[in-house]
């Protein structure tokens, strides 16, 4: 058992859960239309948008892999956060893609694509977005549960002498706790949609930020900045401070992350749904510029936790589990409760937003185009709620009770690149290239999926794995997916005669 005190820390966590549920359920009465449910009636203002975007994009999974970056690469592991912040700042200041997107009045990306590329591309983009998004999200629950179990020190073994149901429940503490958490999130998301998501995101942002800041301050005071720097210097040398001189990073790592983060800023549905829910394009841009620096904190703060774990446990520890193990022993009673509440807040805000985001694409771009007559608002709302509930069931079945086989990060990288490479090319071409058409769009989707899948297959085959890993590697493969998807868009669009283009 770690330092988690069931009375003091448990009360802090219980109070947070109670406040979140009350706030999430309270606003359900304001939902009268599908637009209220999916984009909060487009009434979101700047600071609520900042809270929602920051809370959505920081989950326990994020905390785990950014802390692992700190453990494995030192301070240089926070480089993707700087790149993400720069991409978001530039896009926010210029309105690149997000201004025409918000001004179009659409509710999802594929809806915009239909106007330029036709209904087939809309459905194909919808399928790619939903598959990429859901498969990514599938690992959130179990990873979050493992973090909480490590930090609190709860045992996953049945107590000696326990039998029957009691033994089964003790052995499945993680699954039961995360199921209960998901049921709470699903309850307010199903009833209140985006409105509940925004209001709970606001509360969750405050709790999450208080926890992140308090834990970091304690680490800096107790472990000390000098020891963190000395540890990075001793384990990683100059590469721990500079990604270009780190042997496992270098310019391919930086370039791949620059492309990946720009694509995520432009097309990751959970991010751009805040632009679509904003009062107007200008508000959407302000949400981006004012949230941008948060993404440095998103990588640097857990990165410092990972470096502190490296200092305490040494480089031989498991890089993914080191941070929760370190915090479980390091934090005092009271602060442990705040950390658990903060991480629950981070996870709940991410889960609710992601469930709603993928539901919006399934409803708007995969199911709705097939309807023969317009549906009433009541019927549309009912269908949206059913889809959110269905996604919740999928997460339970696929992500929690069915253990994932293989490497988590390869899996996340592949599913993410399939989505982001093709969708970012489609969005940029849709907004700024007049010759872009459906042939180019289909070619970009196909090539954007083919390159990462081909790399994965070659990497797994005994005859090619050594050559592929040594001569190509994940970063060159990722860069190739973006470059070739763009080339496919250009080639496909130029091959199709311009007069046959679909216009609306």
């Amino acid at each position: 058992m770690g330092n988690f005190n069931i009375v003091i820390d448990g009360s802090i966590v219980g109070l947070y859960l109670l406040a979140t549920m009350a706030a999430g359920l309270m606003v359900r009465k304001y939902v009268g239309r599908v637009e209220d449910f999916l984009v909060a009636g487009r009434e979101m203002n700047v600071y609520l948008g900042v809270a929602s975007l920051a809370a959505t994009e920081f989950g326990i999974v994020t905390c785990m892999y950014t802390a692992e970056n700190g453990f494995r690469y030192g301070f240089a592991g926070a480089t993707p956060g700087i790149l993400y912040a720069l991409a978001m700042l530039v896009v926010g200041l210029t309105g690149f893609c997000i201004r025409p997107l918000r001004q179009s009045g659409v509710m999802t990306l594929p809806e915009l694509f239909e106007r330029r590329f036709g209904p087939g591309v809309r459905r194909a983009a919808g399928v790619v977005i939903v598959l990429g998004g859901l498969l990514n999200m599938g690992v959130f629950l179990r990873t979050g549960g493992e973090f909480l179990v490590q930090v609190t020190g709860f045992s996953l073994q049945a107590a000696p002498g326990a039998a029957g149901l009691a033994a089964w429940m003790q052995a499945h503490t993680l699954e039961l706790a995360m199921t209960a958490l998901l049921l709470m999130v699903a309850a307010y998301t199903i009833l209140g949609g985006m409105l509940s998501v925004l209001v709970t995101d606001y509360l969750q942002f405050i709790v999450m930020s208080a926890g992140l800041l308090a834990v970091t301050a304690l680490i800096l005071v107790k472990v000390g900045w000098g020891r963190l720097v000395a540890t990075v210097q001793a384990v990683h040398g100059s590469g721990g401070f500079n990604p270009f001189s780190h042997p496992q990073m270098g310019w391919p790592y930086v370039l791949f992350n620059a492309l990946l983060n720009l694509a995520a800023v432009l097309t990751w549905m959970a991010v751009i749904q805040r632009v679509l829910a904003a009062k107007d394009a200008r508000t959407g841009q302000k949400v981006y510029t004012r949230t941008s620096f948060f993404f440095v904190a998103r990588f640097l703060i857990p990165g410092i936790w990972g470096i502190a774990a490296l200092a305490a446990l040494g480089p031989g520890a498991d890089s993914l589990q080191a941070m929760p193990r370190f915090l479980g022993a390091f934090l005092p009673v009271g602060l442990m409760g705040l950390l658990v509440a903060a991480m629950l807040a981070a996870d709940m805000s991410t889960d609710s937003s992601y469930m709603l985001t993928w539901a919006s694409v399934i409803y708007n771009d995969i199911i709705a185009p097939f309807r023969r007559r317009n549906w009433s608002e009541r019927r549309g709302l009912r269908l949206n709620r059913l889809i959110v509930a269905g996604i919740g069931l999928f997460l339970l079945a696929y992500g929690l009770w069915y253990p994932l086989q293989g490497d988590l990060w390869t899996y996340l990288g592949i599913t993410g690149t399939i989505y982001l490479s093709s969708m970012s090319v489609l969005l940029i071409a849709c907004c700024y290239w007049r010759r872009a058409n459906s042939w180019g769009a289909v070619a970009a989707i196909a090539v954007g999926a083919l390159v990462p899948v081909l790399y994965l297959v070659l990497e797994q085959m005994p005859g090619t794995s050594t050559w592929v890993r040594g001569n190509i590697g994940p970063y060159f493969s990722g860069i190739a997916a973006y470059v070739l998807a763009a080339a496919a868009m250009i080639a496909g669009s130029l091959l199709k005669p311009a007069r046959r283009e679909v216009t609306k």
Partner: protein, 51 residues
Amino acid sequence: MNGPLFWKILTAACLLWYATITVYVALRGARDIKEMLRSLKENRSSVTSDK
């Protein structure tokens, strides 16, 4: 600029900015929620009266 100094300045800026924006968003975000709910309520009542 050497590596450790760059990260020290960035960490300090990050914590200072994050603490400030948390307080600011806590205050302004509450106002945004009130305005959003009031606006949605007005929209709903105008739709109801149109019917």
